[in-house]
């Protein structure tokens, strides 16, 4: 059996994992490490290969090429049909939209799932009641799942991944079908798992959900990882960040004139070489979005310049989601333009610098 003792904090490692369906490569040469105790956000549009990657980890799909390594008894071991039972024992999965047997209740199904993974029979009843209460579905615990809404099924799906109290939790699009309140609940839930010392690997196409909780973000596009690191490091790689600026009032002659007025005030302090369209106005939110090089000193300079020029600023912030969106679009467009060359650069350069784990 293949074993590897390197990188003792790596719990899961994808090594050149590729999955093909016929001639179509759903996932190509994915290299990704998941470290103990971290929250790794897996970001990508629909059809990018997020679920396929997670299914390979759950052994629902076998990689056409490459391997998935998981830490068993202190050592990383290659996931195979022979050891999958033991390697996956400490992992909880929610893969794609959860589908349950419609004529069963959450109590019956979650008890079954928990006990399959060896959760003590004497404690499973209390455990199921506790986790169902966590998602606010206590009143529904003995109702048939077939009568549940999509959001309720999603909540049951999320807790089905933790019913046996695993150390690693893999959640594929946990926010799908949830209303804003429930999404907030899932965010808090993920952070709570981290507080409990769990490792969380979750995917989403929702930038905000990833940016709010993830320690690191892996971006995938067309089955290939295009970037993976902390938000801060990705930001420094992109040499770009965004300030959101809300003014007390927008002049009567419109936002365009305000952009022209702000240009000489802010321009010298952005630290950007290319200042094309670096100030944008979002008419929906009535907020000015200003790109700068991400250096906090520049951020202070911009704020001072605005204050000195007498601009009435109501709100001045650097939202994570906005930044992530820019980064994501940048990496996506670069990957399309440069193809494999870009990807290889992302894979090898950071490794040499010890910054990027892709």
């Amino acid at each position: 059996m293949s074993k590897n003792t390197e990188n003792s904090d790596v719990y899961v490692s994808f090594r050149n994992a590729t999955k093909k369906f016929g001639n179509f490569a759903a996932v190509s040469n994915v290299n990704l490490d998941i470290h103990k105790g971290e929250i790794l956000g897996f970001l990508g549009p629909n059809g990018a290969g997020k679920s396929t990657t997670m299914k390979m980890m759950a052994y629902l799909l076998r990689p056409t090429e490459g391997e998935v390594w998981i830490r068993g008894n202190g050592e990383l071991e290659k996931l195979t049909s022979k050891n999958k039972d033991y390697l996956l024992d400490n992992i909880g999965f929610l893969i794609e939209n959860p589908f349950f047997y419609a004529n069963m209740t959450p109590r019956e199904t979650l008890s079954y799932f928990g006990e399959l993974k060896g959760y003590p029979h004497s404690k499973i009843k209390q455990r199921v009641e506790d986790i169902v209460e966590m998602v606010g579905l206590s009143e529904w615990i003995d109702k048939k799942i077939g009568t549940f809404s999509k959001g309720m099924r999603q909540k049951i799906g999320v807790i089905s991944a933790i019913v046996h109290d695993p150390d690693i939790i893999v959640l594929d699009e946990p926010h799908t079908g949830l209303d804003p309140t429930a999404r907030k609940m899932v965010r808090e839930f993920i952070l709570k798992l981290k507080d409990m010392g769990k490792t969380v690997f979750f995917s989403s196409h929702l930038l905000y959900e990833v940016s709010e909780v993830a320690d690191r973000v892996a971006m995938i596009s067309h089955g290939e990882i295009i970037a993976c690191d902390t938000l801060e490091k990705l930001e420094s790689m992109a040499k770009k960040s965004e300030i959101q600026l809300e003014l007390l009032e927008i002049p009567e002659n419109g936002a365009d004139d305000m952009v022209k007025r702000l240009d000489p005030i802010i321009g010298p302090h952005t630290g950007l070489e290319n200042k094309l369209d670096y100030i944008r106005f979002n008419p929906d939110s009535e907020i000015f979005e200003i790109l700068f090089n991400g250096d906090p000193k520049k951020q202070v300079e911009i704020f001072k310049a605005l204050f000195t020029a007498g601009i009435d600023v109501v709100e001045f912030s650097v939202p994570k989601a906005g930044l992530l969106e820019d980064l994501y679009l940048k990496f996506m467009s670069e990957s399309k333009e440069n193809g494999a060359e870009f990807l290889q650069k992302r894979e090898f350069e950071p490794k040499q610098k010890g910054e990027i784990t892709v």
Partner: protein, 300 residues
């Protein structure tokens, strides 16, 4: 500080839990099979009740026909075995419906409804299939036995005795149920949908095998049709009066004046040994293929 305390407490709880958790190995395997059986019993409870109702309705139908026949002066069998055998005319059909109902969804359902995404990372497919098969076979067997019990009650009420061959016949019925459930499970493994597995199984048993039987009769092939699963169902009723000659030639006259004369050849029933071996071979082959397909089958 509070965060550290929470983490320490969580780690301590986790250690206690790890100790209490059933370890991977033989004990866990048995536990998983046991839990799967219980869960599948719960899951198929309504189907089971439906099958019991179906058995009762078919029994009631035969009983009503018998009462009407008697009131019309039909001859009542003197031997309780004959009376009992009369109720078994549709036993093959009952077993087919029961087996296809419980077997059709055995494997296909988890791929069709994607419930496997949640289930397969938690249990190996061999244990899952084993547990489910036991649960569903138990329900199927109880449904068939229930029909026998109803007929037995009617026989006791009428004759105050039960023919000794009933138990042998029930044994053959249960073995045939096992073989047919394995056959349907095979279709469940290769079909995308549970309904397709159910329908194809029924069609093959009712049409393809019957067609093959007719072809064999007409062509006069004398080889015993061990390769036909439906052939083994004959022993369920034949057990009451096992014929000395299991091979039969039937003269058949066609045309209004019987001008064109023909002879059909037919095997009435397999021998007891042949039936046991044949049905077990069918079960082993179909179940093994079903398992291998299930193991290889991946979610998309």
């Amino acid at each position: 500080m509070a965060e550290l305390q929470t983490q320490t407490q969580a780690q301590a709880d986790n250690m206690i839990l790890t100790e209490q958790r059933t370890k991977i190995g033989t004990k866990r395997s048995y536990l998983q099979i046991e839990k799967t059986i219980k869960y599948d019993f719960l899951r198929n409870g309504m189907k089971f009740i439906s099958m019991l109702i179906m058995s009762f309705l078919i029994f009631a139908l035969f009983l009503i026909i018998e009462i009407i026949d008697e009131s019309n002066g039909a001859i009542v069998p003197t031997d309780p075995a004959d009376y009992f055998e009369g109720y078994l005319m549709m036993i093959s059909f009952i077993i087919l419906i029961v087996a296809s109902t419980f077997g059709g969804s055995m494997i296909a359902e988890d791929f069709e409804k994607q419930t496997g995404n949640l289930l397969f990372p938690k249990i190996t497919k061999d244990r899952l299939l084993f547990g489910r098969f036991i649960a569903r076979y138990s329900y199927s067997a109880i449904s068939v036995t229930f029909y026998y019990i109803l007929v037995a009650i009617a026989t006791v009420l009428k004759y105050n005795a039960i023919p000794k061959f009933v138990w042998g016949s029930l044994g053959w019925a249960l073995l045939y149920t096992f073989a047919l459930l394995s056959f349907v499970t095979f279709f469940s493994a290769i079909m995308k949908r549970s309904s397709s597995a159910t329908i194809y199984s029924i069609l093959i048993v009712l049409i393809v095998f019957q067609l093959l039987t007719m072809i064999l009769m007409v062509t006069g092939v004398t080889i015993e049709p061990f390769f036909m699963l439906t052939y083994y169902s004959n022993i369920i009723t034949s057990w009451f009066h096992m014929p000395e000659e299991r091979y039969m030639e039937l003269p058949f006259h066609r045309g209004p004046e019987g001008i064109s004369e023909n002879t059909f050849y037919s095997w009435i029933t397999p021998s007891a040994t042949g039936a046991v071996i044949g049905m077990l071979v069918w079960s082993v082959i179909t179940l093994t293929i079903a398992y291998l397909v299930f193991r290889r089958r991946q979610n998309k």
